[in-house]
């Protein structure tokens, strides 16, 4: 199982809420972060980064939870995150997961999985045309998969099943691979892992 999430830093700074306050909006932090996460944010040198790193951990963990057959819900505060620098632990319902984040000036990218985190991921620039972004990202993922597993790219297909879970097919046969796709602003990221 694998879940990922990307935060385009510039795009996220252009917040869409009525007063453009973003994470500083009254009530925002309290609604989605646990007490201990709120402490991490309050004492952080860069609270913006801490907020969105934590958020990307929650979002990625949620994707793993849904992939594992969990029922959709919207209650980010019940997803508990801890991290030391770029490595994290996340508890979502009964699942205990591990995370790894990349933080740079352009984006925050987090990948979440089980214990070993034997996951291959990549971040790419997918441009600004929202109609093309998903196509570009999928193309990159399929190319990588075909090279990694020596499969014919034309026979690979990604399809979304119930609850938006992406699945991978070769001709009509479902492959034993977990994949996750994410995009935000002009960045996209994909991750994949062989299931045993």
């Amino acid at each position: 199982m694998v879940g990922n999430d990307i935060i385009d830093i510039e795009a996220t700074k252009r917040s869409k809420d009525p007063n453009g306050l973003g994470w500083k909006r009254p009530g925002f932090i309290e609604k989605i972060f646990t007490e201990s996460e709120q402490k991490l944010i309050a004492t952080s040198k860069d609270p913006f980064i801490t907020v969105w790193q934590l958020w990307s951990m929650k979002e990625s963990a949620y994707k793993v939870f849904i992939q594992a057959g969990g029922e959709p819900f919207y209650n980010p505060k019940t997803i508990e995150c801890q991290f030391e620098s770029l490595n994290g632990h996340i508890k979502i319902k009964k699942l205990n997961l591990k995370s790894k984040s990349i933080v740079n000036q352009a984006y925050i990218f987090t990948v979440v999985g089980n214990e070993n985190l034997n996951i291959k991921s990549k971040v790419i620039n997918i441009g600004n045309d929202v109609k093309l972004q998903s196509k570009i990202l999928r193309k990159h993922l399929l190319k990588d998969l075909s090279q990694t597993y020596n499969l014919e790219i034309a026979k690979l297909k990604i399809e979304k099943i119930l609850n938006g879970i992406p699945r991978l097919y070769y001709v009509e046969k479902e492959l034993e691979l977990a994949i996750s796709l994410t995009h935000c602003g002009s960045f996209g990221g994909y991750s994949f892992e062989r299931l045993r």
Binding site: K31, N163, G164
Partner: protein
């Protein structure tokens, strides 16, 4: 316009800034899902909850928010909280 249609229109005005699928937004109905259909970024769903709280002067606790994934669920929660005011 029925009360429900009026509420859907009010809700549409609130969520407009956050949607990323214009087509699904134009065709919005009760069973429209915020994230799957309207492609709303899940972090913005918190903004929608806060906007609803401000507009109707209600408080949406986390247990109610837990189910707020569709237009229908949002309408039910608003109705329930407004009636308790």
């Amino acid at each position: 316009m029925s009360d429900k249609d009026k509420m859907i229109e009010e809700l549409k005005a609130l969520i407009k800034p956050y949607i990323q699928d214009e087509e699904a937004f134009k065709n919005l109905h009760e069973n429209t899902n915020f994230i799957e259909d309207l492609k709303i970024n899940s972090a913005n769903l918190v903004d929608i909850v806060l906007d609803i709280e401000d507009k109707y002067d209600i408080e949406i606790d986390n247990d109610s928010m837990d189910k707020m994934l569709s237009v229908k669920a949002a309408l039910e929660i608003i109705e329930q909280k407004v009636s308790k005011k």
